[in-house]
Symmetry: C2
Subunit: 350 residues, 2 copies
């Protein structure tokens, strides 16, 4: 599964077979149609005949790296073929420095508005990778409160604003158990903020005991809010770039539907999350390798970002099995680095 997993087949292939596979993958990725021996022979750096290529293709097919969808009509890579390509033939996935500069530049322009970071990251990633991007907001294992604020709306209604250590902000509406004007709420806030600073949901709840009605209610709501910010079910997935894959032949029929289903529910996250390694290495799942059945016909490139043990999010790319893994991997890797850097700024304080 892992990009760095050792692969035994390497020895079995001759240099020319590797070249054939490399060219075949590249050609198939752009054309989307089975590739024949003649096409490959033309693209070959050395001058070889199509018959030679045919022999090599037969060998590759025997190892299970390519297959023919129909008896006539060219070959396409298998999932294993892609896997081999990604491991050994692709080269180092590093975004061109031009792209890197462009992305950093774009990000600098929205840096100030951190509510839009996640949305923006999704857009940039979709554009760069040329596929559907997936980004979750960063969240910490257990959300700890940094600050909260209450604003009176009506005598018995107030706005509660929570700010966590990882600078996530949530606003909630409170239905107060008793009348309270802004002055009352402000006084209450001044008293309570030092009491709850740095606490998680459980700790806040434990403070409820012995508190009078209004503070008890506020504490309860804070705990609910904190819990919601940490839970996986409530983690929203932002995505972008649907247009990149919806036009492609693979998703013409019901498959396009499936993508939308996947992106909407939390099933995708549930399937992917357990597979994510702790480090920030880019993970690649090709076709059958995918944990979820629904992803069986997709290529998925994911990475975590954030600060280990403190706050992490996920970002990645979803596309047809026939996608440019080079583009996707390099984009995901770079974006994960970029987002991690940004988190660093936000989180380095106490």
């Amino acid at each position: 599964m892992d990009t760095l997993q050792p692969e035994r087949e390497e020895q079995r292939l001759t240099e020319r077979q590797r070249m054939v596979l490399r060219l075949l993958v590249r050609e198939y990725v752009v054309s989307g149609r089975p590739v024949g021996s003649k096409t490959l022979a033309e693209q070959f750096p050395m001058s070889v005949s199509s018959a030679t290529i045919r022999n090599e293709l037969a060998a590759l097919e025997h190892v299970g790296f390519v297959q023919q969808p129909h008896t006539s009509g060219g070959r396409i890579p298998t999932d294993q073929g892609y896997r081999y390509y990604v491991h050994h033939l692709m080269g180092s996935p590093e975004l061109s420095s031009g792209d890197q500069i462009m992305i950093r530049h774009q990000f600098r322009q929205v840096e100030a508005q951190l509510d839009s970071w996640v949305d923006f990251a999704a857009e940039v990633l979709a554009e760069t990778a040329g596929n559907v991007s997936i980004v979750t907001a960063p969240r910490s294992m257990v959300s700890r409160l940094r600050h909260f604020e209450m604003i009176s709306l009506q005598p018995r209604m107030a706005l509660l604003i929570l700010v966590t250590q990882e600078s996530a902000v949530r606003q909630m509406m409170l239905h107060l158990p008793e009348d309270a004007d802004q002055a009352t709420l402000s006084r209450l806030t001044d008293v309570m903020v030092p009491m709850v600073r740095g606490l998680g949901a459980e700790d806040v709840e434990s403070q409820i005991v012995g508190a009078t009605e209004l503070p008890a209610y506020v504490l309860e709501q804070i705990a609910i809010g904190l819990r919601g910010m940490g839970s996986v079910e409530h983690t929203q997935i932002r995505h972008s770039g649907l247009e990149n894959i919806l036009g492609q032949p693979e998703f013409a029929g019901a498959a396009g539907h499936n993508v939308l289903e996947l992106l909407r529910g939390s099933a995708l996250l549930g399937a992917l999350l357990p597979q994510m390694s702790v480090g920030h290495e880019v993970q690649v799942f090709i076709g059958d390798e995918n944990p979820a059945d629904a992803l069986r016909h997709f290529g998925v490139v994911m990475a975590t970002y954030g600060i280990d043990g403190e706050v992490t999010g996920i970002l990645g790319v979803l596309g047809p099995t026939r996608m440019s893994y080079w583009r996707s991997i390099s984009s995901v890797r770079y974006m994960a680095r970029l987002m991690s850097d940004l988190m660093e700024d936000l989180y380095s304080s106490s």
Copy 2:
């Protein structure tokens, strides 16, 4: 354009012709294929022959309410035909009380987390109307500050949280011109909040004159933030329910692409906004009636919500010209009412 616009053609149609048109629209909406005289004759409450229906269809075609895409093969409604249907034949678009109760119930469960109101409204609306929904966050003509807060991240970096009168919250990252710890920032906040409460972007900017470096920078950033919250360009459109229309034959080809393009940019809002009437009446645009060329093949049902003159948002539904206008109009109308009620709660305070 308006739902209530008078329509002169009414007199011209006999009761039976109206019935034919009504049945034809209904049938075409569900089947998506041209409807023939025989099908209509079978569905007719009175017993009539297909020949009679053919005569009536010819009359309707002469008036411009139906057309035949091909010489043989049934008829479909024209945009004018839909318009007539919506005006005179559809009946009162009122959501069933069951649906109303279900929606209110669902909303009660997320009421507390008002960051997710807009997203949630989009989901509910898409589901109820069976089309793509569009919802913008409520915004006021000119955003006025209710409260702000600063949280120190690093010596020269801080988080600025703005809360406006209409309870919108925005978080921004500040790069401070000089070192400032939390105590300094808190003191500064205490002093500045009373100065800027209730002010708009311009008023905040006017206070910069004469302020020392740090307060001047903060005021400047507040003004930028306020301005961003009010501007149309920065208004995000949330949408949901793509799966509802992407499967339909109308959007099989490049048209599906177009929808995505529309939803992504701000072009949609720019085209629709000038057309919205001030009241909260539901507006219906059918095919050619649409202000933007890109919408030429869509049906659009929109309404504003909020509190007149104070804070308003837009919500609506986008679908193929052949959509169930009854479902869409009733859903949009109900959701606009619901959201307005919610705004009322948030905004009724000073």
